[in-house]
């Protein structure tokens, strides 16, 4: 089996009922995509293009309306498989009442890692993400950058085979972006599969082996590294030609 994840005709329709009126929004439409083991795959798209929906289907937070999603050879959301997957969402959704160390202890236990050696694993990870000194401070006192690090730490703590990063560069300062890039490359160097979604084309271009462009819930195009390597601004121009706004917003023209 060479795929880390596979979407087979996967679709998601959100149904909302308000005062007896049902409205439907398409999150994702018949997505067929295979993510190979050991690659860094980037999902590019505008807001509402389906990037986060695809990731939520992969992580079992959503159920597909059509088709199926597989992760490491098992149905997405399979509880045992989740022990082999790490996930960092676009913002650090962590419990502010806990300290950094308690947070990592919690996720280490949830990842079914043995209690023996937990303290060492947690201390090592805090050190690796630069939070050693803040380990015993509650997350409510952390800055945004520190929270992002704690979120990244919980995703990597159990040494997962597949790491899913939802917009990991959003809101980070230039130094933190550089560090995040180094993390992705370090993961690739260790043979891990990385799926990341982003708006930032230059970052995706630097770290990804392949890129999928989502447009209005559909996979519009998949690019291989050779498609953009050596051609300046290739991704930006391919992206601009591929996507169209589906949110009803027109272009800005100030002239």
């Amino acid at each position: 089996m060479s795929e880390a994840a596979a979407f087979r005709g996967a679709g998601k329709v959100y149904r909302r009922s308000h005062l007896g009126r049902v409205t439907e929004t398409i999150g994702l439409l018949r997505l067929d995509l295979k993510i190979r083991r050991g690659e860094v795959f980037g999902l590019l798209g505008l807001n509402g293009s389906g990037k986060t929906t695809a990731i939520k289907l992969l992580m079992g937070l959503h159920l597909p309306t059509t088709g199926e999603v597989e992760v490491l050879g098992r149905r997405a959301g399979d509880v045992d498989t989740l022990a082999r997957v790490g996930y960092a969402p676009e913002a650090a959704y962590l419990n502010a009442a806990l300290t950094g160390r308690e947070t990592l202890r919690l996720f280490d236990a949830l990842a079914r890692r043995p209690a023996r050696g937990r303290e060492e694993r947690v201390a090592r990870m805090l050190d690796q993400v630069g939070l050693s000194r803040a380990g015993d401070t509650r997350l409510s006192s952390y800055s945004k950058g520190m929270l992002q690090r704690a979120s990244l730490a919980q995703a990597l703590l159990h040494d997962p085979e597949l790491v899913v990063l939802d917009e990991p560069m959003t809101g980070l300062d230039p130094l933190a972006i550089q560090e995040m890039r180094a993390v992705v490359l370090w993961l690739r160097g260790r043979g891990k599969t990385v799926l990341l979604s982003s708006h930032d084309m230059s970052e995706v271009e630097r770290v990804c082996d392949r890129i999928g462009i989502l447009n209005g819930g559909r996979l519009a195009r998949v690019l291989e590294r050779r498609d953009w390597e050596g051609a300046p601004n290739a991704i930006e121009s391919i992206f601009a030609q591929t996507v169209t706004r589906t949110d009803g917003v027109g272009p800005i023209h100030l002239a």
Binding site: L82, V85, Y87, N95, L98, A109, L110, R112
Partner: protein
Amino acid sequence: MSAIRAVFSYTFKEHVRHRAWLSLALFGLALGGGGLVASALAQEERARMMLDLGLAANEMIALVSVVFLTVHLVLREIESRAIFLILTHPVRRPHYLLGRFLGTLAAVGLGMAALGLLHWGLLRLLGWGGGGSYLLAWLCSLGKTVVMGSLALLLSLALTSEAAAMSFSLSLWVLGHFTAEMHFLAEKSGSAFLRTMIEIVSRAAPDFARLNYRDVWHAGLPTPAWMGAALIYVLGYSAACLALSAQLFEQKEF
């Protein structure tokens, strides 16, 4: 089991570190002090009055805490999206729910125990010596708290509105003290529809008459059969609520 333990542990810490916890403790102390002052008005029955007031205050505080905490227990984690990171780990959803519930019960139980000890200490100072009876009355209050916690959790998942879940929980708590009256009303009702509706509500609402040891304790300690039936009722009712909650929670998307 380790997932339940981990969720239990962080839920317990989360509640104990919450500022509302301190306010509740202060409120309990104020009630205890108020009871002491009020009981001074009835010199002959001072200990008895202090006993009734203290137990009722402890039960009320526990009820308000458990309903408030369990109604927010999962909904707040959904709102803050903290649930994303928990459920994208290898945690079965019923285990998450059980860990959250037990962690909340432990926090509320700890508060009840602290207030109970303080109250019992005051009673000892007033010369009251019914330790065994006090413990049983306290356990019955704890039983009601467990039942109300599980019911509030179920309602929060079924209604997905904190305000609605809280009002329904408190209404069912009130109805739970009048199950015999509801059966009587159903019997006397001329309308078959009304009779059925009252019967359904009275069966769904918890039956707190089974846990009202305080009402009968002056007749002496209850029989083991009474205590066994009360325990089975608490465990059965809570297990049914938790099983239904787990069923609802399994179908949720985030």
